[in-house]
Symmetry: C2
Subunit: 414 residues, 2 copies
């Protein structure tokens, strides 16, 4: 407990203020001083257009502005409005609603959803598993709950999903403990932009089914789909969802849904955790534990965000408009992705496999130094794990996506 | 782990859906069937006018409706907007800002604030202390974090704050553990409506200072002031705040602030945890642990609610208007309180000491049965702990406040 006077560290390694938010503040200050056109804030995960403005969907804004004051002011139920629960399920599954017991419980964004799963499907001291490349807060969430995060190498030498390492690690952990929360972030993985393909998914599920043959073992398969609507075609990006039905009941698929990216409404903290199972009792206990955790952690969620999603899914025209408005946003991002990949190839800069999404990762062994050097050129990026540099394509303009790879290459390839 | 298939109980006693929210749903259904004038929903903690409408402050609504879409859509920083942090401190302390290191960190409502304090100022298995009469979720929050809630009798035989029991219990617990999170809900305590008076406060602080003479002991004095703006005069209700400065540094005063009641904006989940200390290092570590917990639990808070409070406190005229609009809301509640107390006296019905606030508690040994009988008359109340019945004066009209005591007396005094 070195350094703490009254607070209890409680097995966590409590670090300083969140780096990404600090970088963002620094970038904003520099933009105010030097002009925003001279700054590339490629550090934060919100979609910004090429004029530096936050991208919003006008259908979402209009719906939000049409709410009554009661929609803002009244409490939502602990588990969320029923209309929101079904809208969240519809938003994830679209036309392929699973034919099995399913439930959604409201949470503050995707973070709240992940928190609730780890809290309820593991015990203090358990190992939570994800890939070596992962969104930093996964570790914070696990540690906050007195769990530990362990990882498997995400890519093999040929830059393919490393199913062998995955399989070995799952097997090792299920020898050490009877339960496993496995956290997959796909499609359009943060930070690499990789999407598990059909073969990856089949292989992953084979590994899990193999482990689940032992009835004493159970696996919470937690899928963070924060970027599902920015993984190219929203229909094909959902190809893996039907694979989640019909699994043995000791594999529980859980999906973390968030309005942050899909509806460009980050600050309303509206998300949900969704579970599906062949066994209705498992879904009933899922609801029960999620409601208890909600009540004992933040009570209830932001009602207005829930009403917005409910309205959109209750009105086919409004839904169609929302999806249509998402297309240029998605295209903006996809174009930046293409530009960045091409510029990286031209500059002979190695990046991890990028399919789609808000971020890409550049190989480098000294990312902190590179990141600091780039800041002198007005480019803000996030150093990761001493092995890579995360570039937010969501917040860097097309212009900067063309320029940044060569700037990095000049620093790293020498 | 009886009854659970995949979920982990993790030392919690996970009960069913939240009773109060279920009661509320039932009351709404009955109101739709029989007409709302025939139903008294005295179960829920939102202020409803005598025509059944949620009370909102038009200054708050206007401010909310004036926000830009970015104010809704963008992420807030993990610790909340800086302008919100100072506004939250101003909202609690008003004109008596303490002359010592102080900080506020945004949380989802008061619940989030309580959660964060228990998580960071106690350890798994620790005892958290509050009074026997308390808001039910205090126990849920403690259990969710694998702590235990213990209580002292709040009132002595003369219906005064039971300082002897309080003192004994604090002493007993600080013999069993070196740390203590002590949760006080005052003024206008939920559920009784009691406000600690000047003598109570001095006696409480004497007890704590006495314990804190041992430098190995530390006390987190967590004060839930959810109802501070509905405890009669908002200036006098804050009389105890100056007592919190100049305490020994191993007593850490922490204040849970929420916009839910004071700004009638329950569903926006905007609150804060505030700490003050003579020692700046203690405030720095407070910020550090609170930011870590925020990041690992719900990430960031509802930005729009934070902007509303920031705007109100940046504009003296708007602030004055907000406070002025609060007066009739407060008076509505105070009048109901007077009516209820008089009707209880007339019906010879014993209630616990009520000073102000959203709730009152009637003595009864079989509250569940009484509550069920009352439902047949369209009256919804919350049975507590097999010893009392909580009546929400906030949601029962003046008319019902006049009627309910005799109805209860007819069931209990026979």
């Amino acid at each position: 407990m070195a350094g703490f006077i009254l607070a209890q560290e409680n097995t966590r390694r409590i670090n300083n203020d969140d780096d990404i938010f600090i970088l963002n503040t620094k970038a904003k200050e520099m933009a105010a001083r030097l002009g925003s056109e001279n700054i590339a804030n490629a550090a934060i995960g919100t979609l910004i257009d090429d004029h530096g403005k936050l991208v919003v969907l006008s259908s979402v804004e209009q719906t939000l502005r049409s709410l009554s004051i009661e929609d803002f002011a009244e409490y939502a139920p602990i588990d969320g409005l029923a209309s929101f629960q079904s809208a969240a399920i519809a938003a994830v599954f679209e036309e392929q609603l699973p034919d099995c017991p399913i439930a959604a419980v409201a949470t503050p964004g995707g973070t709240g959803a992940l928190h609730n799963v780890i809290q309820n499907y593991s015990r203090r001291g358990d190992i939570i598993l994800t890939s070596d490349w992962h969104w930093g807060p996964y570790r914070t969430i696990a540690e906050e709950l007195e769990r530990k995060l362990e990882t498997y190498p995400m890519f093999d030498e040929d830059n393919r999903f490393d199913i062998k390492s995955f399989s070995d690690k799952v097997h090792e952990l299920l020898k050490r403990q009877d339960r496993l929360v496995l956290l997959l972030n796909t499609p359009a993985h943060n930070p690499t932009g990789y999407s598990l393909n059909n073969n990856d998914w089949d292989a992953v599920l084979d590994v899990l089914k193999n482990e689940a043959a032992d009835p004493n073992k159970s696996i919470a398969l937690l899928i963070d789909v924060a970027y599902i609507d920015f993984a190219d075609d929203p229909a094909t990006s959902r190809f893996f969802l039907p694979k989640l039905t019909g699994l043995p009941q000791n594999i529980l698929p859980l999906i973390a849904f968030s309005m942050s990216k899909s509806f460009m409404l980050y600050g309303m903290r509206t998300g949900a955790i969704i579970a599906l199972s062949p066994n209705k009792d498992i879904i009933d206990e899922f609801r029960k534990v999620m409601i208890f955790t909600n009540r004992g952690t933040w009570s209830n969620g932001t009602r207005a965000g829930m009403v917005v999603l409910s309205r959109i899914y209750a009105d086919p025209e409004l839904l169609a408009r929302t999806k249509k408005e998402r297309i240029p946003a998605m295209r903006l991002l996809a174009d930046r992705g293409k530009t960045f990949i091409k510029a990286a190839a031209d500059a002979d800069l190695a990046i991890y496999p990028y399919n789609a999404g808000f971020f890409a990762v550049v190989h480098t062994n000294n990312p902190t130094w590179v990141s600091e050097q780039l800041q002198q050129d007005g480019i803000f990026t996030v150093p990761l794990d001493n092995r890579g540099l995360r570039i937010s394509l969501a917040s860097a303009s097309e212009h900067w996506c063309r320029i940044i790879p060569a700037k990095i290459a000049a620093l790293t390839n020498r």
